[in-house]
């Protein structure tokens, strides 16, 4: 097949797209009304929400720890580890939020946008790799402190299972809004 033929096919497809009677009115209205956000805007908003939430959780967590049936030294250690974990998560989410906020779809070049997205996605995975061990350390400390209390131990285990489920669900939601840059399809790296 010659290029001429391919071009001809392309022009035919143009006609098809042009004659497509799909109604853009509702989409235009949605855009003007500003009721719907783009996937990127939703992702940015979610990072912002999580960065704020982690700061709030430090204080609420501190308030709740006094109810934990743990020895005082373990309680302080847990509280400290919890605060470090949440502040790290908050900083990481804020970094991702600020990096993604830099994207200007209307004026940036495609290579710039794709490199920012790729970088953020990579960092998201790296941050997860830092936060998961930190979380496991906290759980380990709590388990160590509540070995003698079977009810507390049971609660911790239930909490861990619930946490994993919620974490996995949130992780999937985050990843859904990212461009997938897997090794096999890492084709946006122009530079």
């Amino acid at each position: 097949m010659s290029y001429k033929k391919i071009k001809e096919m392309w022009e035919n497809s143009n006609k098809n797209f042009l004659h497509n009677n799909q109604n853009f009115d509702s989409m235009i209205k949605t855009a003007i009304d500003g009721k719907k956000q783009t996937a990127l805007a939703q992702l940015i908003k979610r990072y912002q929400m999580f960065s704020r939430l982690s700061i709030v959780c430090i204080f609420t967590g501190a308030g709740m720890f006094k109810y934990l049936d743990l020895p005082m030294n373990i309680r302080i250690l847990t509280l400290l580890a919890f605060a470090i974990y949440l502040s790290t998560a908050g900083i990481m989410d804020y970094w991702l939020y600020s990096k993604l906020s830099e994207i200007d779809i209307a004026n940036m070049k495609v290579s710039t946008v794709s490199s920012i997205i790729g970088k953020c996605r990579k960092r998201h995975h790296q941050f997860m790799m830092i936060l998961i061990p930190m979380c496991m350390i906290i759980v380990g400390i709590i388990i160590f402190g509540s070995v003698n209390n079977k009810w507390a131990l049971g609660s911790v285990i239930c909490g861990v299972i619930g946490g994993i489920a919620i974490g996995a669900c949130q992780y999937m939601r985050f990843m859904k809004n990212y461009q997938t840059l897997s090794e096999e399809d890492n084709d946006y790296n122009f530079m």
Binding site: F17, I28, T30, A106, S111
Partner: protein, 206 residues
């Protein structure tokens, strides 16, 4: 605090320069700039809306086409269309008409697809969306040709797809380089390679 005479003068000069730039753009460009640096926008909110609707209607085929080639499913296609339209609306305030509307639309649509495109392996196949999306209104159109073209384009990776789409739309190498953020020579080399790849792929169709 009252501004000094020098500040007034500077402000006046800036004002005149901005107006001159604005007038020059209006003269050179076939389309009037939406953004007026002096009064924010030359158009009222209503006229920005009118211009936006006009741009969307004029470039409906282009938006459809880009989103279509980057979508993996009907839902993806609709989401991409909606996101692209939202981004065009958001970008209206910064669009000054310096670049061609099609180039601007291309940039926004490609950036939208790059930043939101989701790869779902379940849907990833070389079979195009011709059957899942009601693209062709006229049943007499060459459906087979559409499928062949989709097959060929979907065999390329995303950056190749982007370059060949712009090349097929007869955009100049400079325009392509401007949208992609690549060197002009790199664009030329890449397009040559893609054309060779397309040619080889097309041989498998025969």
């Amino acid at each position: 605090m009252t501004p000094s005479y020098a500040e007034y003068r500077l402000h006046g000069i800036t004002y005149v320069l901005k107006w001159l730039r604005y007038a020059l753009i209006s003269l050179v460009s076939s389309e009037p700039p939406l953004y007026n640096p002096v009064h924010g926008s030359r158009f009222t909110i209503g006229s920005i809306e009118a211009r936006f609707i006009e741009i969307i209607n004029d470039n409906k085929a282009l938006i459809n086409k880009i989103c279509y080639f980057y979508a993996n499913s009907t839902d993806d296609f609709k989401d991409l269309q909606q996101d692209a339209i939202i981004n065009i609306w958001k970008g209206m305030s910064s669009y000054n008409g310096e670049s061609k509307t099609t180039t601007w639309i291309y940039r926004i649509c490609l950036n939208t697809c790059v930043s939101t495109w989701r790869k779902n392996k379940k849907f990833k196949s070389h079979s195009p969306l011709t059957h899942s999306i009601d693209i062709i209104d006229d049943p007499t159109e060459k459906d087979e040709q559409m499928e062949q073209l989709h097959y060929l384009i979907n065999c390329l990776n995303s950056s190749e797809k982007m370059l060949i789409m712009m090349w097929l739309d007869e955009m100049s190498y400079d325009e392509i380089a401007d949208v992609c953020g690549l060197n002009r020579n790199t664009v030329a080399t890449k397009i040559r390679r893609i054309k060779e790849k397309l040619y080889k792929l097309s041989q498998t169709l025969i």
